[in-house]
C-alpha cells in the first residue's frame, strides 16, 4: 500500500516536490523514522530535513509529534512551523 507524502512552504521548495506517492519500507514505523529514511533519498531531501527538529508533521490532516506511529496513514505532510493568521 502506498502512502501520499506532501511538502509545504520551504520544505517543498527544498525537496522540489509538492506531493508524491511512496511505498514506505517495512522498518519505518514512526514519523521520526520516516524522516531519517527520507534524508537518504538524495541531497535535496537531506537538505530539506537537515533541521528535522523544526519540521512539523501531520498524518491524515491531524498534527502529530515525531514519535507518532504511522500506522495505516494514507497522507503524511511535512512543513515548517505555521505562520498563518
Amino acid at each position: 500500500m502506498s502512502t501520499r507524502l506532501l511538502y509545504f512552504a520551504w520544505v517543498k521548495e527544498k525537496t522540489g516536490i509538492a506531493a508524491e506517492e511512496v511505498e514506505l519500507p517495512r522498518d519505518v514505523t514512526t514519523v521520526a523514522e520516516l524522516i531519517v529514511w527520507l534524508k537518504t533519498r538524495g541531497p535535496e531531501f537531506a537538505h530539506a530535513f537537515a533541521r528535522s527538529d523544526v519540521i512539523r508533521a501531520a498524518i491524515d490532516w491531524t498534527h502529530v509529534r515525531h514519535d507518532t506511529r504511522i500506522g495505516a496513514a494514507r497522507e503524511i505532510a511535512f512543513f515548517p512551523p505555521i505562520t498563518g493568521g
Binding site: A77, I82, T83, G85
Partner: protein, 153 residues
Amino acid sequence: MIRVQQEDFDIGTEVARLRTGRSDIGAIVAFVGVVRNRAGAVEEMTLEHYPGMTEAELQRIEAEASSRWPLQASLIVHRYGKLRPNDNIMLVVTASEHREAAFRAAEFLIDYLKTRAPFWKCESGRQGSRWVEADVRDDASTARWDDAKDAAE
C-alpha cells in the same frame, strides 16, 4: 462557520449575515488581520496552505471555542494566495449574549489558528523573498488557554 478563500471579504457583510434574524445577540467582536508593510519592505505576501487539513483544523478550532463559551454564532474566514500591504488576511467574528464570552472566544480562535491552521507566509520585496519565521509568542499565546483549562478543571 469557516471559509478558506482567495477572494477578499467584506467585514460589514459578514457581520450582517451572522446576526440576521436573531435577537439574542448582545455582543459582537470582529477581528481583522491585515498585511502590514514593515518598514516599507514588503511588496507582496503569498499565503500557502494545506487544502483539506486547513478546513479540518479550522472546524476543530471553532468547535472547541463553541464548547468553551456560550456563542450564538462564530465565523472564521482565512485567505490564501497573493496579498499586498493593507489587504485583509483573515476575519474572526464571534457573537454572544455578553461581551466577555465574545472577546475571549475571538482571542482563543485567533491564538489557536495561528499555531494550528496550516498556513505559511512568504514575503517578497526588493530584497527578494523569504518565508516568515514563526513567532514564539504565538505558541505562548496558545498555551495560555491550556493553562486556563487546567485551572478550571
